[in-house]
């Protein structure tokens, strides 16, 4: 444990510094401005015992997952279409760029006017800010596919399904991963903001309500929940992608291939080294 702490200090030291800063400032400021970490933790603990907290959490998570899933799914499909079909690329790219450059707050304002408060604004704000981002990333990736590999696929007359599954999607997976991580961050920010301003439920709304009542400890407690959720979602995503891209894990053969029994009956725990004459 001690060696772990010593070796990985860049990972935990900034958090500790932040906590110390918070504690130090809270000693000098009134609790309405900045409650101490201890007080915030107590409020958080209290929140965790309340039913209303879980309702808000479920609503926010539901909206976030739905919006994020739709954005990434539609974005990948749209991006593939744009990448494979030049006309679609030329027609849609300006719209995508426009849409990503409209500040999300402007979307919230418009959507509240059009749709009123509710599920609509948060979901649509997520879609409008993140879907174009994913689509443009994927489209650029398709346009940069290795022509040598595409020619190989053509000369072996691989069916379109095989090409998509084994050539296009793996080649794009790095870009899709980067776009998905970005989309996740945008999703959280857009979601909480849209709930704050354009909804009557969810964590963002609870945050707005706590702010209105000047319950700063509650504001901070909700903030902790939101940051915690977003960090764990990102960590989950990273772990998932590492599993999806085993060819990137250094000089080790495919996982699961070893140990295996060789035809001479012996067990091989490691892959054989290539004969030196081939190296």
């Amino acid at each position: 444990m001690m060696t772990f702490m010593r070796r990985n200090w860049p990972r935990w030291a900034p958090w500790l510094a932040l906590l110390a800063l918070w504690q130090g400032l809270s000693l000098r400021l009134p609790p309405t401005l900045l409650p101490s970490p201890g007080q915030t933790a107590a409020t958080l603990w209290h929140l965790l015992g309340q039913r209303s907290f879980y309702t808000a959490l479920a609503l926010t998570l539901g909206r976030g997952l739905l919006g994020f899933g739709l954005s990434v799914g539609l974005g990948v499909l749209l991006g593939l279409g744009m990448g494979l079909w030049e006309t679609a690329y030329r027609a849609l790219r300006p719209l995508m760029v426009l849409s990503t450059n409209v500040p999300p707050i402007a979307w919230v304002a418009l959507l509240v006017i059009w749709l009123g408060l509710g599920n609509g604004p948060p979901l649509l704000v997520i879609l409008t800010t993140t879907m174009p981002l994913v689509a443009v990333h994927v489209a650029e990736g398709v346009r940069e596919l290795d022509p040598a590999l595409l020619e190989m696929a053509a000369s072996f007359r691989l069916p379109l399904r095989t090409r998509l599954r084994h050539l296009v999607l793996p080649a794009l997976s790095g870009r899709i991963f980067a776009a998905t991580l970005l989309a996740l961050g945008f999703t959280w920010r857009a979601l909480v903001m849209a709930e704050f301003l354009g909804s009557t439920s969810g964590l963002g709304y609870q945050l707005a309500w706590a702010r209105q009542n000047l319950e700063t400890d509650r504001v901070l407690a909700y903030l902790l929940v939101i940051v915690g959720l977003s960090l764990s979602a990102e960590a989950g995503l990273r772990a998932g992608f590492r599993r999806l891209r085993p060819w990137e894990q250094g000089l080790h053969p495919a996982e699961g291939a070893y140990p295996h029994r060789h035809e001479d009956g012996r067990w091989h725990t490691h892959p054989p080294l290539p004969p030196t004459e081939w190296l």
Binding site: E151, L158, H166, P170, W247, P253, E277
Partner: protein, 249 residues
């Protein structure tokens, strides 16, 4: 029923640059044909025409084959799939798992890569990667095999070893798979082929053809008649270099 291809008066240009002009070629059934020419003379275009990936601007192209196997200058393997998966990719989709496995085991045995099936291309050496590419080309059970300078990036001993492997793979029980082997190395052609056609610079035309004696590869390394052909060609090249007629060989 062996595969064959015949080009008659074929012309092909890219962006106004003539690559082939009035080109005639017969790829005879059950023979190994080597095309030797300077780099950039249009050999790759020729292969694409033979395979039907490209249509001629003028002239006719008669193709009589079922399936074509392709080996490129670079291995062109999918970096995110193992050697095994790279070869499995081109097997007919309707084959069931046991049949696929049996076929793949035979192929990896043939190219001498048993035990390396689980490696990703990035973990294999250049020669091993090209062997995987060869296994992939053979996996489609081609009746026409097209090779585009497949071993040109490898060092000499390795190239010789792979040529020997290729020689054994395309010639079985006295008859050969219809093969077109493109190279810029005269010796590779002399060791491998039944017939060797020299190509001129762009636009490429066949300048001279040689029918080679049906010797096993070991005998070819020292056969005096092949030595004579090699010397003759080298002399002609040297003469043309002196005349300043050859800009790139």
């Amino acid at each position: 029923m062996s595969a064959w291809v015949r080009l008659r008066g074929v012309s092909k240009a890219f962006h106004g640059l003539p690559v082939l002009q009035n080109f005639n070629l017969h790829v005879a059934p059950g023979k190994v044909l080597a095309l030797v020419g300077p780099s950039g003379c249009g050999k790759s275009t020729l292969l694409r025409l033979l395979a039907g990936l490209e249509a001629p601007d003028r002239g006719t192209c008669e193709r009589h084959f079922q399936r074509v196997g392709f080996v490129f200058q670079e291995p062109r393997l999918l970096p995110w799939r193992t050697a095994w998966q790279n070869v499995a990719l081109v097997l007919p989709a309707h084959w069931d798992a046991p049949r696929r496995r049996r076929r793949l085991e035979v192929l990896f045995e043939q190219v001498g890569l048993r035990g390396f099936e689980g490696y990703y291309p990035g973990q294999l050496s250049g020669g091993m990667r090209q062997r995987v590419a060869l296994a992939r080309a053979l996996a489609v059970e081609p009746d026409l095999l097209l090779l585009d300078e497949p071993f040109s990036g490898l060092d000499f001993p390795l190239r010789l070893r792979l040529l020997r492997l290729l020689y054994a793979l395309v010639r079985r029980d006295g008859h050969a798979l219809t093969t077109v082997y493109v190279t810029h190395d005269v010796r590779e052609a002399l060791w491998l082929a039944d017939r060797m056609v020299l190509l001129t610079e762009r636009p490429a035309r066949p300048s001279k053809a040689y029918d080679l004696p049906p010797l096993p590869l070991e005998a070819r390394l020292h056969a005096p008649e092949l030595r004579a052909i090699e010397e003759e060609i080298l002399e002609r090249l040297a003469f043309r270099v002196q005349e300043g007629a050859v800009s790139e060989v």
